[in-house]
Symmetry: C2
């Protein structure tokens, strides 16, 4: 079990890789972001994207899921008050194998809550060739190791 | 059909309301953010949240879907390069009726692409009592009205 004290600025956690299918891109987008370039292959081919691309909320959710499974479920993570920046740099297309990295940027004890600390982290989604598709700089709270 | 020129700073679009159920919170989180306070009612009740709360990625995806359906599907929206800030201010819990507002903050023609313009927008998720649960300041590109 990893607590606040167990994360250190500069650490990078590799959260593994997985294939994202065209079918799951369409399924997500039909529910949460039904713009034509996310749900309709023919319309997407005619768009400036030149083909179907994942909703940015889907890319972020995929990255979140991989960090949660690889790292957060066995940690004292207490959630996040927000992100100070998110970039969608390159589109995510069906059939891509994505890799997620989780980078610790800053660490600080809470000034108001003695039971927790605050991490600034970078959530990064890469394609198989190593291109950065998305990154997000977020704050997260973690419980301190029990005394 | 709404083009870049049809959006003006200061405009606020009400994108409607809908109920978010506990079941959909759990279904989303099992796939994308299986932290215990998003998927396990008993564990969530013991957590600092005091009950089950939606993944922040789910809140954002719900808001995105409501803006897309209410507004973007009938617009020249070309997607987003990112967000400069996102805040999860209050947790979203099952049974809540959420309302989404979409606010135009800034409008600027693209300096490099003569076919499009750039909007800075605020995507806002409220509960039934009118409390702001989440907001995100994003950039979006829109096609110009054809000459």
């Amino acid at each position: 079990m990893r607590y606040f004290e167990d994360f250190h600025p500069g650490e990078v956690f590799d959260c593994g890789s997985r294939v994202v299918t065209k079918e799951e891109i369409i399924t997500f987008a039909k529910q949460f972001d039904p713009q034509s370039f996310h749900v309709d292959e023919a319309a997407a081919a005619r768009s400036h994207f030149g083909g179907l691309v994942a909703s940015g909320w889907h890319s972020g959710s995929i990255a979140m899921g991989m960090v949660a499974t690889a790292l957060l479920l066995d940690s004292s993570c207490m959630g996040s008050p927000g992100m100070e920046r998110l970039r969608w740099l390159k589109p995510l297309r069906g059939g891509e194998t994505v890799n997620v990295k989780f980078r610790i940027l800053e660490s600080e004890l809470s000034k108001t809550r003695p039971d927790r600390g605050k991490l600034k982290v970078s959530l990064e989604l890469y394609d198989k060739a190593g291109n950065l598709l998305m990154d997000a700089i977020a704050t997260q709270f973690y419980g301190l190791r029990p005394k």
